[in-house]
């Protein structure tokens, strides 16, 4: 699992590469700490390379979303695969995120 954070002026692009399973989420949750501090910006979660997500991964997504909501930011989930979309659907996450 790799998490790439690319901070730009108005937005932060967080790229998830690989599997976001439970052990990966432990690392990922540390990696996104800086993102949470900047949650007032538009956060783009780039999921082109995200092949798998478990509930722990979803929790990270939700944590980011909650932080953004608190700081008036915006979260966009981009390029999710059908499988992950299915997981989002099962968990009602489709309603919580703006999916592009």
């Amino acid at each position: 699992m790799e998490v790439k954070i690319n901070k730009q002026d108005s937005n932060i692009i967080v790229e998830f590469i690989g599997r976001l399973d439970t052990p990966a989420s432990v690392e990922a949750s540390q990696a996104i700490e800086p993102v949470l501090a900047d949650a007032g910006k538009t956060i783009i979660l780039e999921c082109k390379e995200l092949s798998y997500i478990s509930s722990s991964g979803l929790r990270i997504f939700l944590t980011i979303r909650k932080a953004a909501a608190a700081k008036g930011g915006k979260v966009i989930v981009r390029n999710i695969t059908d499988d992950i979309r299915h997981v989002f659907m099962m968990t009602g996450f489709l309603n919580l995120f703006e999916i592009q």
Binding site: R19, D21, T22, P23, S54, S55, L62, K66, A69
Partner: protein, 731 residues
């Protein structure tokens, strides 16, 4: 067999020998009794013969004496008148006539004057006698020069002796002209001088008649001999007065004895004597006739005396022989019967032997050498049929073809030879079909066709057939009405089976096959209902629970079977086993099963183990031919479930294992997660509300939600201190 025949023959021989012995003893006993009886009878009969002879002789003697007495009396009574007439010789003829007339026994009489006593009649002997056949008396003078009476013994002897004298028998030529004997007494005158001799003749014809009339036995003959041994009465009349007894004796075979007899008789003794003549044995009884010096003897041939007893003896012997013959016939019949019984017994034994052989043949069809494939280390197989008393119809079989283990177990309905035959047929059909068919459902349905076609006896076979791919543990199986085998993995359970109908009931039946994977160390335990339905004396059945209990700890196949056999035997106790007990244990030990094919996974309670789970699930999904999205869903659900256990079943800081098992069947995946942590039922957690907005959304509770969403069924149970979470997914 040869040995047995020989034994049989020898016992028949013994019997025959025994029979012969019996006959011999019977014959000897009979012979001995008849000899003893014969001996005593002979003694009695001889005694009787003696008594009869003696009484006859006595009677004859009395009759003779009567005659003799009469003659003597006739003479004595006339002595006085003869004395009176001495002086008047011419009156003497009237004296003689009176004697003859008055005494019927007297055949003739004379008064013979002593020569010269009378001056007038110096020689004078007027004789009066009867002539046979003529009623009148004849008179003649004996004083003729030819006759010369003074020289005759009847004249000389009484004068010499001075008393009455019985002459030797003689044929009186010139006198009586017949065979006669004469009693003569001397007559003395008043001065005491011998003056004349007075005689009375007795014809011996009556004696012949009298003695000849004695018939003690039909072929006995009688003799009378005189003092001098002359034959007076004799069966050969020509010899009468012609021979003496001693002359005859000289010609006899046993001269000594006959001479002795002659001497005894002539000396007036009585007695008996035995001798042989011309091959015949004779008994001679003899007794004297008093006064006359005669001797009567009766000769009885041995055969006459013992004739009757010999006839009886012969008859008895005939009866004995008949008896012995009957005994032999009876013994033969008994021996035949005995042989028949022996034959029946032999036949029974042969049938039993044949049944035994049939049983042997039947058992020889069953693989009995274990390990059956000693060169293979990926299989540990052991099978057994513990036969009940009767020949039964249980079977199992196994063989390897193309790296596949074909195995089966079955139970033919009913018992005895028919079941055994059907069993043999079933086994050979299995071999035939499985030789070219890999799919168990095809094997089973083909077998069903064959068995239904020829099933006129309405017998059926419960059957389970499996084909295990030894390279990857892929087990395909098909059940036909048999009880479910047990599968031993980390735990033990019944192999899921479609029950289907037994073989041989209906043709054109569709049999559905099933499949799953076996992992390293997995085992199958196949059995017939002889195990679970084994009854003890209280008619309780061994049952599936006991069966399952015995298999609880991991053992090798042979240990399983031994343990099961012992457990059943201990349970049944003294009760007679009613059915074959058949078991087959297949222990799969292929440690080279590719990683991705492993169906069992043990994890530590560490979330870092999740990638292993992921790889495990992926391999299952791949094996099950699932697409990537379904694979991912399964991954997700399993990860959530396992993570739950890791986080909640084991309190922080405690270590524990989590077992994951996956079962693949054609239309379903089944997963079981087992752990020995705290009791934890994830299905009891409240349903997460996925409709809430961001602010209200809970961080937790999503995992079990996903499990529920993805899986078709989720069930939890706690057993033996373990949590088991089972999930199924239709595919």
């Amino acid at each position: 067999m040869k040995m047995k025949e020989a034994l049989g023959n020898s016992s028949i021989r013994d019997f025959a020998r025994g029979g012969l012995m019996l006959i011999l003893i019977a014959a000897l006993t009979l012979e001995a009794t008849s000899i003893i009886q014969f001996y005593f009878s002979q003694k009695g009969i001889k005694e009787e013969a003696r008594l009869r002879a003696e009484s006859e002789m006595e009677a004859t003697q009395l009759k003779i004496l009567d005659v003799v007495d009469q003659a003597e009396a006739a003479v004595r009574n006339s002595i006085w008148i003869a004395q009176w007439c001495l002086d008047f010789p011419d009156s003497l003829p009237s004296v003689t006539r009176r004697i003859v007339t008055d005494n019927p026994v007297v055949a003739g009489s004379t008064v013979a004057m002593v020569p010269g006593y009378s001056k007038r009649r110096p020689l004078f002997s007027p004789y009066c006698h009867k002539v046979p056949g003529i009623d009148t008396l004849c008179f003649k003078s004996l004083a003729t020069p030819e006759y010369d009476y003074p020289s005759q013994s009847w004249f000389t002897e009484p004068l010499r002796l001075g008393k009455g004298y019985w002459s030797e028998p003689y044929v009186d030529e010139g006198g009586g002209e017949m065979l006669m004997t004469t009693y003569s007494v001397p007559i003395f005158d008043r001065k005491g001088q011998a003056a004349a001799v007075l005689t009375a003749d007795i014809s011996l014809d009556w004696l012949t008649e009298l003695v000849g009339g004695i018939e003690v036995y039909p072929n006995a003959f009688n003799l009378v001999i005189s003092r001098e041994g002359q034959l007076m009465v004799c069966p050969a009349e020509s010899l009468v007065m012609q021979r003496t007894f001693m002359e005859m004796a000289a010609k006899a075979e046993d001269t000594t004895t006959i001479n002795k007899l002659g001497r005894s008789m002539m000396s007036g003794r009585s007695g008996q004597i035995e001798f042989k003549q011309k091959g015949k044995r004779y008994h001679a009884f003899f007794a004297p006739v008093e006064r006359t010096g005669w001797s009567i003897s009766i000769f009885i041939p041995d055969s006459e005396i013992y004739g009757s007893i010999r006839r009886i003896g012969a008859f008895v012997k005939l009866l004995q022989i008949l008896g012995i013959v009957m005994l032999i016939l009876i013994l033969r019949a008994v021996a035949k019967n005995q042989m028949k019984y022996k034959e029946i017994a032999d036949k029974k034994e042969r049938i039993e032997n044949e049944l035994q052989i049939a049983r042997g043949i039947q058992m020889s069809m069953i693989p009995k050498t274990f390990p059956p494939f000693p060169e293979r280390h990926d299989l540990d197989i052991c099978g057994i049929i513990v036969p009940a008393k009767e020949v039964g119809g249980d079977l199992y079989d196994l063989f390897i073809r193309d790296e596949k283990l074909f195995f089966c177990i079955g139970d033919v309905s009913g018992k005895g030879v028919p079941a055994a035959l059907v069993m043999a047929v079933t086994r050979s059909i299995f071999r035939n079909i499985a030789a070219h068919e890999d799919r168990p459902e095809r094997i089973v349905s083909d077998m069903n066709e064959s068995l239904s076609d020829m099933n006129e006896s309405n017998m059926f076979v419960t059957f389970f057939c499996g084909v295990l791919d030894l390279t990857d543990g892929h087990l395909r199986y098909c059940n036909a009405g048999h009880n479910a085998p047990l599968i031993l993995t980390t735990d033990k359970r019944s192999l899921p089976i479609f029950s289907n109908l037994p073989l041989g009931i209906i043709s054109d039946m569709e049999f559905k096959g099933q499949e799953r994977y076996l992992c390293y160390d997995d085992a199958l335990f196949l059995y017939t209902d002889g195990v679970t339905e084994a009854e003890n004396s209280a008619h309780e059945q061994f049952g599936e629970q006991r069966l399952s209990d015995v298999l609880s700890s991991r053992r090798s196949s042979i240990e399983h079977l031994k343990a099961m056999e012992e457990a059943v035997a201990a349970f049944v106790g003294d009760a007679e086993p009613s059915d074959d007990i058949t078991m087959l244990s297949i222990h799969y030990l292929n440690d080279k099963v590719p990683e991705g094919l492993e169906r069992h996974l043990t994890l530590h309670n560490d979330i870092q183990q999740i990638p292993r789970l992921s790889a495990f699930i992926d391999s299952i999904a791949e094996k099950a031919g699932l697409d990537s999205s379904l694979s991912m869903s399964l991954n997700l659900a399993m990860e959530e479930a396992v993570t739950n256990v890791m986080l909640y079943a084991y309190p922080k800081g405690t270590e524990g294992d989590i077992d994951v098992e996956a079962y693949i069947s054609p239309d379903m995946l089944e997963f079981t997660i087992s752990d020995s942590g705290m009791e934890f039922d994830p299905t009891a957690a409240p349903e997460a509300d996925t409709s809430l907005g961001v602010e209200d959304r809970k961080i937790g509770g999503l995992g079990i939600h996903l499990v529920r969403k993805i899986m078709d069924s989720v069930t939890y149970n706690r057993e033996n201190g373990k949590n088991h979470l089972s999930m199924t997914k239709k595919i």
